[in-house]
């Protein structure tokens, strides 16, 4: 244990920030800059979309909404399982926590598979590609790809968290990693809501 001599230290350590608080704050700020990253690309997409060629541009078929809607449901479902996983962990219900975590990971993987199916049909059937289909292909694949990458990172992080919790890294009073993981997963969900509406709904 680290020790420092400080006269009248009692009042001092009370006022001094807790490292977990620091990390939480840092993590939130990281999410803020991530939001800015997505917003910039979304701005680019809307800007190009409104630059008057009509949307979608001629010869391009929009990806069907049905698959995407199913996929969204899967992702929101995983948001719910994640939420309850954390709740159960807080209550000390480790088994339920682990199975809910597993479900979250599984649903995340399902989501990625859904996206894979969508990408392959778009590419092979409708000949929509990243570089070769004008600004539609560019913005669609860049944004959804970026989101998919975030989901992928999230899955990896959840796996790590699950392994860590199995090894007893976290306990009822100390679960910063899990909070961060949950926040991140919800963040990815929210981004998806935006992407879904701008690509499939409007």
């Amino acid at each position: 244990m680290a020790v420092v001599s400080i006269p009248g230290g009692g009042e001092v350590d009370q006022l001094y920030a807790d490292t977990r608080e620091l990390r939480l704050q840092g993590f939130l700020l990281f999410l803020v800059s991530d939001v800015v990253l997505f917003s910039s690309f979304i701005f680019a997409y809307l800007y190009l979309r409104n630059s008057g060629q009509g949307w979608p541009p001629p010869g391009i078929a929009r990806p069907p909404i049905s698959l995407a809607a199913l996929n969204s449901a899967i992702l929101f479902g995983s948001g719910a399982t994640m939420h309850y996983a954390l709740e159960n962990f807080k209550r000390g219900n480790f088994l339920r926590y682990s199975s809910l975590m597993l479900w979250t990971i599984l649903l995340g993987i399902l989501f990625l598979c859904g996206q894979g199916i969508e990408y392959t049909t778009l590419y092979f059937q409708d000949h929509v590609s990243w570089a070769g289909s004008g600004i539609f292909g560019a913005s669609f694949f860049t944004l959804t790809g970026m989101h998919g990458f975030h989901v992928f990172c999230g899955i990896c992080y959840l796996v790590v968290l699950l392994l860590q919790s199995v090894h007893g890294v976290y306990d009822k009073n100390k679960y910063f990693g899990l909070t961060a993981g949950t926040l991140y997963w919800h963040f990815v969900d929210v981004i998806w809501v935006v992407l879904f509406s701008i690509f499939y709904l409007i």
Binding site: S51, G52, Q53, G54, P57, P58, G59, I60, G134
Partner: protein, 361 residues
């Protein structure tokens, strides 16, 4: 303890600075022209820009004289003197609400005034007459070309304009971004591929004015300042214009017909046309408004746009005339529109395309 009341030195300094700044104001306002600071002005609304420059310079002269004057005065008057103990302290004042409000409110009022004046002049720029001569200029690496109504081909040496005639200048580019600047006219706008920017002005002084590119456009950017805007009296301009029109009469903007017979437009399939369009046409045409250029103009409403009742070849916009362009092609200010053979279109294809174009409203 000393107080922070302004003493005699301060008032004397202030008086001196006031005199200097009044001299500055008088200089910028009474100077017969702003020529030492800006090139001689050759048109309207350039004169308005000069007026704004004078206003800003004279007020800036006042502001700057006081800031610099006080910096120097304070640095000298309140320096630590040899007679002072080395640890002498200044007057310990923290703030003064009145003073702070003053130096927030006064600049705010000034900013409001400046905004009003700038917006007024900006508005003058927007309402320049649109009824005069329409000239088009295209930026290329690394020269400008000019197109005039009802003449063939492009002028590449200089831009000729009659004096005192309002001009609408449409700017675009063929490759990268250029910027069209005539310092004497205080005019500038970027030439952006795929976009048309417009400036409107009236040259008021006969003469030759340098045209300069002010956006970096490649190795030749430095030398893209060799062309001029030649402002002439109306008779001289007309002489040049007719001469040029005649000399270029043989240059045709249209490509001879290669097609076989008339095309029946009946039964064109718009859906098939749409697919065809994305394969054969979308490389050069957007479905946006006319200004939205890729190579050729945007085609939204080719057949329905009130503001563009005529096609680029001067014919009325009817399905038959559009079909004629698709059939024969057309070379005009924007470049070369391929004809039926070059585009590999059957007569039926053309019918479908026209049907599709007819759906664009």
């Amino acid at each position: 303890m000393e107080t922070n009341k302004p003493g005699r030195g301060f008032w004397v300094t202030t008086a001196i600075l006031a005199v200097i700044s009044i001299a500055g104001v008088l200089y910028f306002w009474l100077m017969p022209s702003v020529e030492p600071w800006l090139p001689p002005e050759g048109g309207h609304p350039g004169d308005q820009v000069d007026w704004l420059f004078r206003f800003m310079s004279s007020t800036a002269a006042v502001l700057y004289t006081f800031v610099v004057g006080y910096v120097i005065y304070f640095a000298i008057a309140y320096r630590l003197r040899r007679s002072d103990p080395p640890d002498a302290l200044g007057v310990q004042v923290h703030d003064n609400a009145k003073l702070e409000i003053a130096w927030t409110v006064v600049p705010t009022l000034f900013v409001i005034l400046l905004s009003i004046l700038s917006i007024k002049i900006w508005y003058v720029l927007q309402i320049q007459p649109t009824n005069g001569l329409v000239v088009e200029s295209i930026g290329r690496q690394w020269y400008f070309t000019f197109r005039y109504p009802n003449v063939n081909g492009e002028v590449t040496d200089a831009m000729h304009l009659p004096v005192n005639m309002p001009v609408t200048l449409n700017l675009t580019s063929n490759d990268v971004i250029h910027s069209f600047w005539v310092p004497d006219m205080r005019l500038k706008a970027d030439m952006i591929p795929g976009m048309i920017n417009t400036i409107r002005f009236t040259p008021t002084r006969v003469g030759r004015y340098q045209i300069i590119c002010t956006e970096f456009c490649g190795t030749g950017h430095s030398t893209m300042d060799k062309q001029t805007m030649v402002v002439q009296s109306m008779p001289a301009y007309l002489a040049w214009y007719h001469d040029w029109q005649q000399r270029n009469a043989h240059v045709s903007n249209a490509i001879p017909t290669v097609s076989s017979g008339a095309i029946s437009l009946a039964g064109g399939d718009a859906a098939a046309g749409r697919t065809l369009f994305s394969q054969k046409c979308s490389a050069c045409h957007a479905l946006g408004p006319f200004e939205q250029r890729i190579v050729g103009p945007g085609l939204r409403g080719v057949l329905h746009d009130e503001s563009h009742p005529e096609l680029v070849d001067g014919d009325e916009a009817t399905p038959a005339d559009v079909a004629k362009i698709l059939q024969n092609g057309y070379t005009g200010s924007m470049g070369h529109m391929p004809n039926q053979a070059e585009n590999g279109l059957s007569n039926n294809d053309i019918a479908n395309l026209v049907a599709f174009l007819n759906t664009l409203k």
